[in-house]
């Protein structure tokens, strides 16, 4: 594994690829097709558009766009698409990867250096892929006296919890993985898992520096959850709902940050602390406790924790956008879908494209909402990344002092502002919004 470069030959690489393809085809013919036909004997075939779905028919769809579009549309309404691709994991992971790239380049510009430069043709855009490959190819070292099952499980749990957090964030009207009425409560429940996973990982490593880091993370996350929850009560009062989609939809005229700036500030600071970003990166303070609770993690275990961290960053930024910045609401900038493409098709020179009756896979509202959401989330992520270049790390006692006295006090001030707005009739029934 470690000597890929010296013995690498392109001809042997291509030969190994061809070998693999040969074996795959052989297995498919000898095992795959018989198995499919055996199953077809037993299971009655579904009828789609008045035709019996046979494997041959399924293959013809690949060549016929008018046949494949309904299938794609049907797939897009399924839960598996929502979880894996669009508002769920794939979309979040894409934004998280973009975040890592932007963070490294932006920090480099701030610090008068270049940042990732050589990997990929343009400004080191493939650096993340290279880092991922490096992490995958590295050996995973487990401390001898670690509690091995828990130590193995912790990074996976971390990513799972982060992905569960992502599932609550509505991206566009109707586009959310888990559209539950108690969405905000669910978010708090998921956030509550992170300190547990952190302390499990830290403690099971059976090492001193991870232990101190885990205790610090526990302190930090638990004590900042209270101002986090309190700072959102104002929004819940004004909206009268815990459903995140309804909260986003309620801000069609004004985003709540206009009325509740105090709550937004408190939420932003607690968000930085929950995310362990500088200046609150005490659990990973390298000059004091090496890498904190990540010290003993190696290889892809570390990579998974990093992935989880950036998913969590996206989810928190998305939550801020949904709660305070109006979610998907914004000016309509996406042009409407050309209608003649559906009915007659468009003729450009000798080529006539269409008509495609099933074409608009996404509605105009959905595309515009997604664009607005991504723009706002990008802005919030930028402000989350910015303190890293400006502030040093703070200390545990300063952190707890900030969380328990100042932020909780400000969160109560925010609640009183919300109550005042409601009772004065500025907002709520008969008010502005």
């Amino acid at each position: 594994m470690s000597v890929i470069a010296p013995k690498f030959k392109l001809s042997e690489f291509i030969k190994s690829l061809l070998d693999n393809i040969f074996w795959i085809i052989l297995l498919l013919v000898l095992v795959g097709f018989p198995a499919v036909f055996m199953i077809l004997f037993v299971i009655p075939l579904p009828v789609i558009d008045g035709e019996l779905l046979t494997p041959f028919l399924a293959l013809t769809w690949l060549a016929d766009p008018t046949r494949i579009l309904p299938v794609v549309q049907a797939f897009m309404t399924t839960d598996i698409f929502r979880v894996m691709a669009f508002p769920g994991f794939g979309f979040a992971a894409l934004l998280a990867a973009g975040t890592i790239f932007v963070e490294r380049k932006m920090l480099a510009k701030l610090q008068l250096r270049v940042g990732p430069f050589y990997c990929g043709k343009f400004e080191g855009i493939l650096q993340l892929m290279g880092d991922g490959l490096k992490l995958i190819s590295k050996e995973i070292i487990i401390p001898a006296k670690a509690d091995k099952p828990i130590f193995w499980a912790a990074p996976v749990l971390f990513v799972a919890a982060a992905a569960a957090f992502v599932a609550f964030i509505p991206v566009a009207p109707g586009w959310v993985v888990a559209d539950v009425d108690l969405g905000l409560l669910g978010v708090f429940a998921v956030i509550g898992f992170f300190p547990i996973i952190t302390i499990l990982s830290a403690w099971s490593a059976n090492s001193k520096f991870p232990f101190i880091g885990g205790i610090r993370a526990l302190f930090q996350m638990v004590s900042f959850e209270i101002p986090l929850i309190l700072s959102l009560l104002g929004v819940v009062m004004l909206t009268g709902s815990l459903n995140l989609s309804e909260i986003a939809a309620s801000q069609s005229v004004f985003p709540w940050i206009v009325f509740l700036p105090v709550g937004a500030i408190v939420f932003f600071i607690t968000m930085l602390a929950e995310l362990e970003r500088i200046p609150f990166d005490l659990p990973e303070a390298e000059s004091e406790i090496v890498a904190g609770w990540l010290t003993e993690l190696s290889g892809m275990m570390y990579g998974l924790v990093q992935l989880g961290t950036y998913l969590k960053l996206y989810a928190f930024a998305g939550l801020f956008v949904v709660l305070f910045l109006g979610g998907w609401n914004g000016p309509m900038v996406v042009p409407p879908f050309p209608a003649e493409l559906l009915t007659t098709g468009i003729t450009i020179g000798p080529i006539t494209a269409g008509p495609f009756p099933g074409l608009p896979l996404f509605t105009q509202e959905m595309l515009n909402g997604t664009l607005m959401f991504v723009l706002k989330t990008g802005g919030v992520i930028f402000f989350i990344l910015l303190p890293r270049g400006v502030f040093p790390r703070i200390r545990v006692d300063m952190l707890l002092n900030l969380g328990w006295t100042k932020l909780i006090g400000l969160a109560f001030v925010n609640i009183f502002i919300a109550l005042g707005l409601l009772y004065a009739g500025v907002l709520g029934p008969g008010g502005l919004q």
Binding site: L107, L110, Q111, L112, R113, K208, F209, I212, I278, P279, D281, L282, A285, E286, S287, E288, I289, V290, R388, G389, V390, F391, P392, R393, I394, R395, V396, D397, M398
Partner: protein
């Protein structure tokens, strides 16, 4: 406590039947408290440098700290007894290569006195300029690490980048970027390149403008001030009692700078201002070197103005110069870390009989256990690095 015998009862030999052992005199077994955790900070810890701090913590508070230097001992002093006065130059600057002119300065001054050489006037000024530039280079390196110890990555990158300005200047001057070996008994190795004065003035002015910007992002940063104010306070009496020097001593309110108190070469003709702060905390100790850099820029400008425009920079030496019989000399200079002394004993041979470096790093380290006791663990890096300590120099 010597001769403490562990008998069959007690914590220490549980399960070992009838086993008694005698500890060597001077050692005592330590009682282990369940609350106390011992951390080995170093030598492979990102916050230690080439040394180890054995830190005992109770919760977040440091109960005791035992610095354990000696991982990079290279026997520089012993090596110096086998080489003649000229050959000693390159290896004696190795302990602090990023402050190489200053670490060599007392040795060169001392060997000049032993060998009886006069130094040309222009060489003295060149030495002062090189020494001050090198002090800035050292402090920038120190500041970069101080920044990253506090988790401020911008403050790591900026000084590391701006340091290149002065390194380029030193490269023009001496031919080498870091290990210059520029000072020799009798002057400096080679003359300044043509047009050096203008380039130096321009670079130094830009450098000064640049480091003044550090105040906005680092020294006036509220989080930095909250973190380092009132941490690791070293009182004036303690600073004198422990024998600390340099920026640590000046941050505790002692007006002590060898460039003013015991001027060597041409420092008495220059107007040197000593920066003193009264607080004695980590913040003061981190700010004094920065003020020293600004003062160094002033000194360089003065030296460039007063320097003779032409003349020799090196007194020719005979091959294998010897001292005049039994002789000893002690010279000290103000280096980037404090007063750096060099004691040379000659017995009339071509090699010195003994060379002893009295290094400021080790003197400053002595204060560390007393400063860290009772502090929080989060203050450990800032207090440790604010002592202006360079492990390799302490080990020689």
């Amino acid at each position: 406590m010597g001769g403490l015998t562990s008998t069959s009862k007690g914590l220490y030999n549980k399960g070992k039947i009838g086993m008694t052992f005698k500890l060597p005199p001077g050692l005592a077994l330590q009682k282990v408290d369940e609350r106390i955790m011992t951390l080995n900070v170093g030598p492979q810890h990102p916050g230690s440098g080439h040394m180890r701090l054995i830190v005992q913590i109770d919760g977040d508070y440091i109960v005791a700290c035992d610095p354990d230097p000696g991982y990079v001992h290279r026997g520089e002093e012993k090596m110096a007894e086998y080489r003649n006065y000229i050959l000693n130059i390159p290896h004696l600057e190795r302990p602090v290569i990023h402050d190489s002119c200053n670490v060599l300065y007392p040795y060169v001054l001392g060997s000049e006195e032993i060998l009886g050489i006069e130094v040309p006037e222009r060489a003295k000024y060149v030495r002062v300029i090189a020494s001050e530039l090198n002090r800035c280079i050292y402090i920038m390196y120190w500041l970069a690490i101080y920044g990253i110890f506090l988790g401020h990555s911008t403050m790591f990158m900026w000084p590391a980048g701006d340091r290149e300005l002065l390194i380029d200047l030193m490269e023009k001057m001496t031919g080498a970027r870091v290990t210059h070996a520029h000072f020799v008994p009798g002057g400096v190795r080679n003359d300044l390149p043509p047009n050096f004065e203008d380039v130096c003035l321009r670079q130094v002015n830009y450098f000064e403008k640049r480091i003044k910007e550090y105040a906005a992002i680092f020294y006036d940063n509220p989080i930095l001030i909250a973190r380092t104010r009132d941490t690791g306070i070293l009182s004036r009496q303690d600073a004198i009692r422990y024998g600390t020097t340099g920026s640590v001593l000046r941050a505790s309110g002692v007006d002590y700078d060898l460039r003013v108190k015991e001027p060597y070469d041409v420092y008495e003709e220059l107007d040197v201002h000593t920066n003193v702060m009264k607080e004695g905390d980590s913040y003061a100790r981190s700010k004094i070197p920065w003020l020293d850099m600004l003062e160094s820029c002033n000194i360089i400008r003065q030296a460039l103005q007063k320097m003779p425009k032409s003349g020799s920079v090196r007194t020719k030496l005979k091959p294998n110069p010897k001292g005049k019989g039994l002789d000893s000399v002690y010279k000290r200079v103000e280096s980037g870390r404090g007063s750096l002394g060099c004691y040379i004993v000659s017995d009339g041979k071509v090699e010195p009989y003994r060379v002893k470096l009295s290094v400021p790093s080790f003197r400053n380290l002595i204060a560390l256990p007393n400063l860290l006791r009772g502090e929080k663990l989060g203050n450990m890096p800032s207090v440790y690095w604010s002592l202006n300590y360079w492990p390799v120099e302490a080990d020689r």
